[in-house]
């Protein structure tokens, strides 16, 4: 939209065009303008990524409610897949990090994190869809929620003073304290930062690579590049599906791990 001429020269700006957020909803050639809202001096405008996030959320809620609606003791069909994931998250993520007793308390949060990220990731792979988790504001918010969970759970279990005291390794020489306190504090902040960047970069990178392969056709301006471009793009696309699941899993796992570390600080 900015410069057609520039696109002619570099061929790369159309990639950026596809992965950055806009104040309009891009459905192929159709650009639907979205409302600008300002509340309490904050620009609360609806953006394309936000719409995609809402679509993903709606899809997520509808899918889960419909698939798990008719519940007997024996699940069937899609509910089986949901349950398999639920059991996996409970037995392999929640229980090892929180222990048998506390695991069920954190399960709804972990499940929501997993499925929310998963649906946002996968929505970007559907035509006209965009990846909301490819927006650093979104991933930062999710990481912030994880960080809040870490602090909340840590302070709840160890007390406000106990939690921050527990960050510093026990039996440390006093002389090292001026060094260790900022380091440990930085270490605490690094965790959500890594979560944020990891998810953002992974979601962004896959799309950039796919778009680059497709872009080669237009850069070389020859149809003979197309088979290779499409083959590689297809391979990347399949990889993206895998990465969509993987990153949702990684984010959930690391969140559980970090929250668990804040609860059991002796480790």
């Amino acid at each position: 939209m900015a410069a057609q001429a520039e696109e002619q020269q570099s061929g790369g700006s159309f990639i950026l065009e596809h992965i950055i957020d806009h104040h309009e909803l891009h459905l192929g050639p159709l650009h639907i303008p979205l409302p600008h809202i300002e509340l309490f001096g904050v620009d609360m405008s609806i953006t394309g990524h936000l719409v995609m996030m809402w679509v993903a959320s709606l899809l997520l809620i509808l899918t889960l409610i419909i698939s798990t609606k008719r519940r007997g003791l024996i699940p069937s069909g899609f509910a089986n897949a949901i349950e398999a994931i639920a059991i996996f998250i409970r037995d392999d993520i929640a229980v090892p990090n929180f222990g048998e007793r506390d695991a069920s308390k954190y399960m709804p949060f972990l499940m929501t994190v997993f499925f929310f990220i998963l649906f946002c990731n996968l929505l970007g792979l559907i035509p006209f869809g965009q990846t909301a988790t490819g927006n650093i504001n979104v991933t930062a918010t999710l990481a912030g929620i994880s960080f809040a969970m870490m602090l909340g759970a840590g302070i709840k279990h160890n007390g406000l003073f106990g939690f921050f005291k527990g960050l510093i390794p026990p039996n440390l020489p006093i002389a090292l304290l001026p060094l260790m306190i900022p380091l440990e504090f930085l270490g605490l902040l690094t965790k959500p930062f890594a979560l944020c960047i990891r998810l953002f970069a992974n979601m962004l990178a896959g799309h950039v690579v796919i778009l680059s392969f497709i872009g080669l056709i237009f850069i070389f301006k020859t149809i003979f590049v197309a088979p290779f471009s499409i083959a590689f793009a297809l391979a990347m696309y399949l990889l993206e599906i895998f990465i969509g699941f993987l990153q949702a899993y990684v984010f959930t796992l690391l969140t559980a791990l970090f929250v668990g570390l804040c609860i059991h600080q002796e480790h």
């Binding site: 950055i20 809620i61 889960l64 499940m111 929310f116």
Partner: protein, 164 residues
């Protein structure tokens, strides 16, 4: 908009969206789903425990059956052995009694024979004596003194060999 430009509005919207999704899913999906999971696991665990118990019971009763069977077999064997021994005993008794009876009969027969023989011999001697006296009397035509004659004949008879 830039790739890394912060957008406070989007951050707030994301937070609101996530919290809403979390609340909705927690109420309508995770609650029922997780409780159903727990319920099912409890039920499966109970069913397994019950199956285990039933198996143990079945094993126990099979063991008992086996023992009862073995005991019955042993009893039957003992009864058979006892019956056989009894029968053998009876047979032995019968045989012994029969043998004894036969022996007794034989003995009796032998005694009777001996008696008869003795009696016959006695009779024979007497008749021989009488015949001899009669014959001698007729031959001599002489009425001898009975006492004297009898003595002579008795002596004669007594001189005869005992077993002839």
């Amino acid at each position: 908009m830039d790739l890394l430009s912060p957008n406070p509005g989007l951050i707030i919207w994301t937070l609101i969206t996530f919290v809403l999704v979390l609340l909705v899913l927690k109420k309508f999906v995770w609650g029922p789903l997780l409780s159903a999971l727990d319920q099912r696991e409890t039920r499966i665990r109970e069913a397994l425990e019950q199956a285990e118990k039933a198996r143990a019971e079945a094993e126990k009763s099979a063991e008992e059956n086996k023992q009862a069977l073995a005991q019955a077999q042993a009893e039957a064997q003992a009864a058979i052995n006892k019956a056989r021994e009894d029968a053998e005993q009876v047979a032995r008794d019968v045989q012994a009694r029969a043998e004894a009876e036969a022996q007794q009969l034989l003995e009796q027969a032998r005694r009777t024979i001996q008696q008869e023989r003795n009696q016959a011999l006695q009779t024979l001697r007497q008749q021989t004596a009488e015949l001899a006296i009669l014959a001698a009397g007729q031959l001599l035509e002489e009425n001898l003194d009975d006492e004297h004659n009898k003595k002579i004949v008795d002596d004669f008879i007594n001189r005869m060999p005992e077993h002839s």
